[in-house]
């Protein structure tokens, strides 16, 4: 069975639940969500109004779940959703939405718009209307184990490198460890300092941890393309590894959608609760800090700011944790406007970064971040999501901006106390 309009519509019908029905019932077409969406604010194109991106789903709701809609459908008076329409909506659902969830906080009637976009994507992908780039990334994730094509050999090489740098052992496949560290593709491929950083931090804090050779990739393209089936397969690999190693905790990496997939969607995707807990690396570091197990002995005088990753902060609730950690090492920390829950997305979340077609739009959307950065004269942007990091670097380069971008975990590791011998040269 291949993708089809029929399959897509059936998926829409199946996805519509109480919340979605309430949201469509409640919408008064006030247009306030437009102001909260950086794709609208940076383009002023009304088609990027968040609720408008859901129009086909709304019609299916109306025709399948409302009294008059059903009546009209029976009488043949309603306009069925067509394949052409879904094709027209594909860029709206995928290219112009990073699932950042800012609209869900702005809606005065309380509609969780991003909840609906996430569910609408289930039908979009089932109807064959998903962007090629995202399809490719998902396919690679399923078939090769990672959307970026990294594999266990790449990881082993990076671990070897980290062990050499730190002089410590990176525990692999240790059964009975407390924590199992999961990484994002980008961390294995590009931001590999993270491996050394967590190794040193956990060494200092005395954390019992491991990396699983068969469950190290946290990125979940299935969530982004909107396929629960594929997302379940991806998250299932981590769950199986964690169960094999009998760990108590799985650590989500600095990667927004990996966290959402692992922490919030995972048990629902595989259809059962986990026998372990999921904790974000930043959550864990802040916990170690509050327990006095994370000590730093130096600071960085650079003017730093923090870019809140949407899935970790707005959709994940970690507002204070990254700031607690930053205050340890960055005395000149400065907030951007709209910090925390109201922060603006980097423009590349929710699968947008994997979708080449969206690049020009994403570049325009970055103007919002640029404006935020222009207001403050920070020289370093700290973040806690490798996708945000890539998007920030990309946008900065495009706009010829000189800022440095660093990961929060690596920044903390650089200033670890009593760890001089392990520090990178």
């Amino acid at each position: 069975m291949s993708t089809s309009l029929q399959r897509g519509i059936a998926s829409f019908v199946g996805q519509i639940d109480g919340p979605i029905a309430s949201f469509f019932t409640s919408c008064v077409h006030c247009g306030l969500c437009a102001d909260s969406c950086l794709f609208y604010t940076e383009t002023q194109d009304p088609k990027y109004t968040p609720i408008h991106k859901l129009e086909p789903l709304r019609r299916v709701w109306q025709q399948e779940y409302t009294f008059w809609g059903k009546l009209m459908k029976k009488a043949g008076l309603s306009k069925p959703v067509t394949d052409e329409e879904l094709a027209e909506w594909e860029p709206l659902v995928y290219d112009s939405c990073t699932l950042c969830g800012r609209c869900s906080l702005a809606c005065p009637v309380g509609n969780d718009i991003v909840y609906m976009v996430r569910k609408m994507r289930e039908g979009m992908v089932a109807s064959g209307h998903a962007p090629e780039g995202l399809k490719g990334a998902t396919q690679r994730a399923i078939e090769l184990g990672s959307p970026m094509g990294v594999n266990i050999n790449t990881l082993r090489a990076q671990i070897k490198h980290a062990e050499k740098e730190t002089g410590l052992t990176v525990p692999m496949d240790v059964e009975g460890a407390d924590y199992m560290m999961v990484l994002s593709s980008a961390e294995v491929a590009e931001y590999n300092d993270i491996i050394g950083a967590v190794t040193r931090i956990f060494h200092q804090a005395g954390v019992s941890w491991t990396i699983a050779s068969d469950g190290f990739e946290g990125t979940n393209s299935g969530i982004q393309i909107g396929s629960s089936d594929l997302a379940a397969e991806l998250v299932g690999r981590i769950v199986r590894a964690a169960e094999r190693l009998k760990v108590k905790y799985v650590i989500s990496p600095e990667c927004g959608h990996a966290y959402t997939a692992l922490r919030w969607e995972g048990p629902n995707l595989i259809g059962r609760p986990y026998p372990f807990k999921v904790i974000h690396i930043i959550e864990l570091l802040d916990q170690l800090r509050s327990e006095g197990r994370l000590k730093t002995d130096s600071v960085d005088e650079t003017r730093m700011t923090f870019h809140d990753p949407c899935q970790m902060v707005r959709r994940g609730g970690m507002v204070e944790q990254p700031r607690n950690l930053l205050h340890m090492v960055a005395p000149n920390f400065v907030e951007m406007s709209d910090p925390g829950l109201q922060n603006w997305c980097c423009g590349g979340g929710g699968g947008v970064s994997a979708n080449e077609r969206a690049n020009p739009l994403r570049t325009r959307a970055f103007n919002r971040k640029k404006a935020q950065l222009d207001e403050i004269d920070a020289t370093t942007i700290v973040s806690a999501c490798s996708n945000c990091r890539t998007m920030l670097l990309d946008g900065l380069e495009h706009n010829h901006m000189p800022h440095e971008v660093v990961g929060l975990t690596e920044l903390i590791a650089e200033h670890l106390a009593d760890d001089k011998e392990g520090k990178a040269p």
Binding site: G18, S26, G110, N268
Partner: protein, 219 residues
Amino acid sequence: MDAQELLIWVRGAGLQIAAAVFVLGMSYRMLHLLLIGRKKSLAEARGSEWAGGLRTMWQRSFVLPKLSPRGRFTVVAGYLFHLGFFVTLFFLSQHIALFRAVFGFGWPALPRGVIDIAAVLSLGAMVALLAHRLVDPVKRLLSDYQDYLTWALSFLPLLTGFMLLREIAFEYVTLLTLHIASVELLLIAAPFTKLAHMFSTFISRWYNGAVMGFKGIRT
């Protein structure tokens, strides 16, 4: 049918029909929303769904995120309209007499001067909102016939009510009939249009807040 008979009809059978459609439609629709239900999350909660849900039900009435001028206009005019509508609906002495007759209890009324100001502000805000809907590209894109229909259905009770208190243009009996009839149209249309948000917004807010509350996000 003369003016008196028409008035008796709108105060009697007409009101019964309108109340039946409104209550039946609304109770059907709201309960249906709840019965469609949703899957219980199997993930480990970090906070309380109920705390988040209830908080958002209340809090979302006041949250004012940073807005563009067009957004600010919508929020300010929207607030004025709703506030004026509620003040006139719930605090005009004559209306309280109605609630007392139907529900058996009442509450103190606001002075007529306050009601008048609220009604005028509300009417003005509605006109401004309609104009904005006609010119703002976002609202124009989102709007369909229902938006204009429900605007008219909300505007007429306010307008006829205001005219009634001053006996503007028509006789009292005519204005009273028009006023009650316009309210009945509003009641009949409410369950089947976006006016249903008068109740469903709290369900929406609850769901939205519950998702946030579950994750332990302090909004």
